[in-house]
Assembly symmetry: C2
Homo-oligomer: 193 residues x 2
């Protein structure tokens, strides 16, 4: 929000700010009405600009959706990297991040799911959508070497987010952490039938 460096290249700075505004507006629409509600017109109205200005920065709707998903993915990447590089209990950090999907992070999580689903059909979105899982896998890799344990933790994280978002499942951090712990731990028994 601070206007430093505006003297250096004021035009570019203004343009980037506009881009960010439009992306924010897009995410607000995705959160409220789903990815299907994203049109140049709804986004422009949300951002308080004209429709043509939206197409000026994002020529096609796909460009806009890719940029929006990238923005969400970037946020998650930053969060997870902080957990990885931080000192504390990484599994607990992840559990907190997941539990946030029930509260302040619901918008972001919902937008991420919406756009990830879109990614199954739009190749341009696929690599961006993959980032979230890769980040979780990277975090898991700091806790174990077992590739199946890593896959299990990624699956559990994803499934817990879905449960919270779609099913309004309980989102207590300790509870989430306990379920994540199950996934990453090697089991000792084998269940038959």
């Amino acid at each position: 929000m601070n206007d430093e460096s505006e003297h250096i290249d004021g035009r570019k700075a203004r343009g980037n700010r506009r881009r960010a505004e439009i992306i924010d507006a897009t995410l607000a629409i995705v959160t409220r009405d789903g990815a299907a509600g994203v049109t140049h017109r709804t986004v422009a109205k949300q951002a308080g600009i004209t429709t043509s200005l939206s197409t000026y920065y994002f020529a096609t709707l796909d460009d806009l959706l890719v940029a929006a998903l990238s923005s969400v993915a970037d946020t998650y990447t930053t969060c997870i990297r902080q957990i990885i590089d931080g000192p504390g209990d990484k599994l607990r950090g992840l559990a907190e991040l997941i539990a946030e999907s029930a509260g302040p992070g619901r918008e972001r999580a919902l937008a991420e799911r919406e756009l990830s689903t879109l990614a199954a059909r739009r190749p341009a979105l696929a690599p961006v959508a993959r980032r979230w899982r890769e980040n979780i896998a990277e975090l898991a890799a700091t806790l174990t070497d077992d590739p199946e344990a890593i896959a299990a933790l990624v699956a559990a994280s994803d499934g817990l987010c879905t449960a919270i978002l779609i099913d309004n499942a309980p989102a207590d951090t300790d509870y989430v952490r306990r379920i994540l712990t199950r996934a990453i731990h090697a089991h000792r028994d084998t269940v038959v039938s």
Copy 2:
């Protein structure tokens, strides 16, 4: 496909057949183009009927989407119930069902995810979307009494499906079963940091 009982009430039978055809066409569209591609016109074209006939059976698009999701959910419910009531290894049966999402069941699974995502915003779809998770939970309840183990298995199942659908993760039945086993087993250790 057999035309028995057509004498009894030919009109109603014909109508039900049409409804089923339209729902099938809708699922084909959802699979190919996503839920966003579902319009009365595209569905009608896919089903080989006129647009007005589609609106005759499903007055609004929401009705159509609810019916389509219900159909998918019914199929899954039947599958899972067969696994529950069957004699074999239930966890393996579930693993097979999930692994099918990479092959013959991909359409169905993709449609289910697409419509579930839609359910986060359309209240009419929410209870239907919940059914899949409830079925898995019911299966899990035959294997354990621990509610957290049940939640863990549901989350793992959901996350594995996502991994297969979005990430093209490996879908070997044994592999899936091993990861599911992790979730449902009580852990013996506790990991700190």
